[in-house]
Subunit: 416 residues, 2 copies
Amino acid sequence: MVRAEIITIGDEILYGQILDTNTQWISLELDKLGIKTVRKSSVGDQKLEILQILNEAAQRADVVFITGGLGPTKDDLTKKILAEYFDCELEMHPVALQDVTEFFAKRGRELSDINRDQALLPIKAEFVRNAQGTAPGMWFNEKGVIWVSMPGVPYEMKNIMESEVLPRLVTHFKTPVIFHKVIKTVGIGESYLSELIESWELQLPAHIKLAYLPSIGIVKLRLTAVGDDLALLKSEVDAELAKVSPLIQSYIYGYEKDELAEVVGRLLVDRKATLAVAESCTGGHLAHQFTQNPGSSAYFVGGILSYANQVKIDQLGVSASIIEKNGAVSEECIQAMAIGVQKRLGTTYALATSGIAGPDGGSEEKPVGTVWIALAHENGVITRKLTLGGTRMQNIYLSSLACVNLLRRYLLNDLT
Amino acid sequence: MVRAEIITIGDEILYGQILDTNTQWISLELDKLGIKTVRKSSVGDQKLEILQILNEAAQRADVVFITGGLGPTKDDLTKKILAEYFDCELEMHPVALQDVTEFFAKRGRELSDINRDQALLPIKAEFVRNAQGTAPGMWFNEKGVIWVSMPGVPYEMKNIMESEVLPRLVTHFKTPVIFHKVIKTVGIGESYLSELIESWELQLPAHIKLAYLPSIGIVKLRLTAVGDDLALLKSEVDAELAKVSPLIQSYIYGYEKDELAEVVGRLLVDRKATLAVAESCTGGHLAHQFTQNPGSSAYFVGGILSYANQVKIDQLGVSASIIEKNGAVSEECIQAMAIGVQKRLGTTYALATSGIAGPDGGSEEKPVGTVWIALAHENGVITRKLTLGGTRMQNIYLSSLACVNLLRRYLLNDLT
């Protein structure tokens, strides 16, 4: 198995001023190719520290990824140190120079000497195009190891990896054929999920592995098949998918890069249906789940944020007596909120939330985390009571997620 | 200067299934104590890899922080390997056993053998209480190095660091007295900011350092003073603050852990004023900036999300002719939206957004990133046109930020 090491260079990451997300992204991409990450390290902008980690990595890994330290300022040492480490000179690279010249010309800015020098590369480096920035990537085959140096700006690094580096790795290391499938689930915890699919998991063939990737409210299942025939692997994974899906059908909202609210948005567009929201405790967060996605205006009409009770009464038509008698966090109120916004905005569907997100405002009868949600549909209203136990932000997030999922299951005719 | 090394142990982080946020947090805390992080590393759940990194760290650092690998399952190797590395036995620790017993009793769960074994500690370890979980922390003084081992669960690790480890580090290493002050700015980029304060920065005394911590829309300035007299350092930093503040007064929204929307919320509460929003392109995100904070119901009344033009007309009272003539992304429309929601919800102030967040929907006249924002106040409406160039999510975020900042500067009588 090919062994990889990932190194970030820079004081900002070492001292914690910036959170490093590059190494996680790179290791996930390598994992998909069957390349095993064996070490991740961060060092500062110090020549001796950088030389030391290069020496160490050369002994452990077949391929080393280095991000950072390629900027135009004198803090940025990576290029010079790589030239020294591989015992070669820096030379102006004609294609790199053309790229950086065009980069500045396009933006109507003058090319300074300092930026021109970004096209200087160690002569042992193969040029790796950076289509989105001024510091080119580099590929070295030295000391029996492949070295890939890239800028630390995440979108530049990702673009270089996807367009240039990952394809070269496949060719160079003749990595095994790997096929991945990610199943995305909502509304069920990792341990319950694993109980439901235990017998299926046990019968998986040795060359198909299962990984659980949990985050708050969402669990992803990743199937990884390793072999030498892609078409065969795909059909094998599809066959496993056909076996496991019925066991957890209600929880699966999508595959690969599907996002829950986007999936629900597509269902609404397919049905030529529209959506409105009436939000109390989620305070705009539920609407944002939809509106953050491009194209949401095709189905998302708008909403009423009724934080104050008077807004529930005036703008949603909730009767004052309901709030007086049952409180705003009640089944009666959430029904009236959902129906109210559906009617006033004239939409096919409406989602509503009212609850106690915390940290204050709870009572013995209605503790923090008590949230009512509702879906008004063509023929009535469905309500659910949630009992959450997280922080304010987690309670808001999970309430929004539960709403979106309630609509998903309604649209799929899958409510129990 | 005390040199620190931070190590995470675990396949999940190494293979990228989990994003490591612990090492960033630890290095920021160490920086505050004047302890310099010299290396961060991740290794997997492999005995040889763990022993190797321990050996390396012992040669580089005065103190080594290890997170992860302390769970009850057989994948978790840290404790056993530390015992082996320090050549000692594991022994049941009476206080640790009492803690874990109480932990389960409180939750009405039975203490299994596997959980009981979490109280087994290497006899050379000093017990470090974990008040929020079942795996205790450990402190070793071996091989001329301080070793701190903690569980990888972020809130358990942070609690252990804050309540137990950081105070011990101060005592053990007799770290210098350090005083920090963070100034938070909005509405100005890092390079413009640095131009405005350049002459002040150059005259800073050698024992007071300045760091720029930029994130999208926000730049934090951190002053760090090192010495041996806390009261003196505080007064010196305050004196520097008094010099720099007038240079950038309009951009400073707070200090330390202040959040922009919270600061504005406090200004509103002080004035007994209330707020509503009318959101088009921000689609709930602006309201969420306020409602994510505890106590926001003291001033945040609600809002109208008018994604569709018909909602702008029906729920906000924008005249159809304005939209027909000027479009929804126009000064005339944003004025009507802000006034409309202020009137209908009866608030002191109202903020409104209407723009083209992208990636589609732009035109030559109104490209993606064109956003109008408005503030309706006691005596009229203020409008601003933004020209943003980011992704959809960045455009939404920066539009919300600009709205909140517009209100902040209005409330401080600081609009130019």
